[in-house]
Symmetry: C2
Subunit: 265 residues, 2 copies
């Protein structure tokens, strides 16, 4: 069991920011990643469709005998995690649970949550935080153009700044003290978000919280992989173009071309 | 045969701009529309995936006994039309053929083509124009952020102007005399494109050319529907959210809520 890989799925390539954090926390673990690039993005779609796609992604990884499943995509975590848990024979880690637990440990007055329409419309973050602390003030905001802009490489400069100003001005006015980056793409523009929101606002990245909780779980359950400096990472996608490889490398921060394979679900 | 509906498919809702033009040219025709909103956009995907999705869309309409098929989506027209023609028992109208014929009738010095990455990367417009007039100068340009911006309702104002300036400045410098709006979404921002490019540049809208060639064909083949002021238009989508209804109404320019149905392909 210990030698089995960790399975990570995402609507597309943004989930590679989660793989990055898992690699940092758990360098010896094999990882199998699935990005549903033929049907990305999930963030604009209905709950029903996101559930269906998430289940198909999960089944692909389960049949590859992973020791646990990570839902990197916040939209899938918000709309599909409970369905995935129903069918999964292995533990399922989503983006929301560990992030919300982290938020509960901080004594926060007012927390902002930004994400896709799907994530924000589900109120999954708000509801989970309220369960742990009913008095929390949560302000949720969908930022639908950030994902396509980041995928087009607009990670600094005028355009991304205009979008950040457009979306985040209401949150700045509300004087939030922390902001959950509830979409895998947003860590890529962390610097620009920080620049706009100011040093006083703590940015919370679910990717880091997923990696920390996964790490703790594997340790507690004695499921860590044996030390292995040649840990394998295999990347599957449902569609592959040369541009996708470039985007993947932006998210992963390293070359990927040899280890990325196209599959049909 | 005459009473059978015209089938129109698109990657999503942008194809409703084509339905608009068909309704104007052929007010008595029944229309069945399919928008693949569960997998939109096609413009960023590989040729292989666009072919597969286009075939699935076409088969859905063919089984509903349409008298002809219209591929409203420029990306599907560029990457999937030849496959669709192989399996279709009825004539197939794509966005490229009639547009290119129109361009050939104008004595143009330099033509610009703007579209998705898929459409532009295929060089389908350039190659088809060159076949009719080898001396034509064609400049192609992908504008990937225009579609998500338009879908978010950014059809006038600062943001769309910044994107138009960013993308179209090279075409303006080239002093083109006409510009093909090779994506169903672009007619929505025609005014802003005209404003930037100037009155001297003719904007060519494939939706109008599709409607004109379809109209001519049905007339020549004696396939026009009998006069019927209550022509039926049925809209199918593969995913439906309240936002999709709003976007559909933006493209169609009229209320749609009662006549839109969700289907699985």
């Amino acid at each position: 069991m210990n030698a089995r890989p960790i399975g990570v799925f995402d609507s597309g390539l943004g989930g590679l920011t989660v793989v990055n954090e898992i690699k940092k926390a758990l360098p010896y673990e094999d990882i199998i990643y699935l990005g549903d690039t033929a049907r990305v993005p999930y963030g604009t779609r209905s709950k029903e469709v996101v559930k269906k796609f998430s289940l198909e992604d999960a089944i692909f990884l389960i049949t590859r005998k992973v020791k646990c499943l990570v839902i990197a995509c916040n939209t899938s975590s918000a709309l599909g995690a409970s369905e995935v848990r129903k069918i999964s024979p292995v533990p399922v880690f989503d983006a929301i649970s560990p992030t919300v637990k982290k938020v509960a440990t901080l004594s926060l007055r007012k927390t902002g949550v930004i994400g896709t329409r799907g994530t924000i419309g589900s109120h999954a973050y708000r509801d989970a935080i309220k369960k742990l602390n009913a008095k929390s003030k949560i302000i949720e905001l969908a930022c639908p153009l950030l994902v396509p802009a980041i995928e087009e490489g607009e990670t600094s400069g005028q355009l991304i700044r205009a979008l950040i100003r457009k979306y985040l001005t209401p949150l700045k006015k509300e004087k939030i003290d922390s902001l959950i980056l509830a979409c895998t793409h947003y860590p890529i523009i962390k610097k620009e978000i920080k620049r706009f929101m100011g040093q006083g606002v703590a940015l919370i990245d679910p990717a880091e919280e997923i990696a920390a909780s996964l790490s703790l779980y594997l340790e507690e359950k004695n499921l860590l992989a044996p030390e292995n400096p040649k840990a394998k990472r295999i990347y599957f996608v449902t569609d592959l173009t040369s541009r996708f490889i470039g985007v993947a490398e932006m998210f992963l921060g390293e070359r990927i071309s040899g280890s990325i394979k196209k599959v049909s679900l």
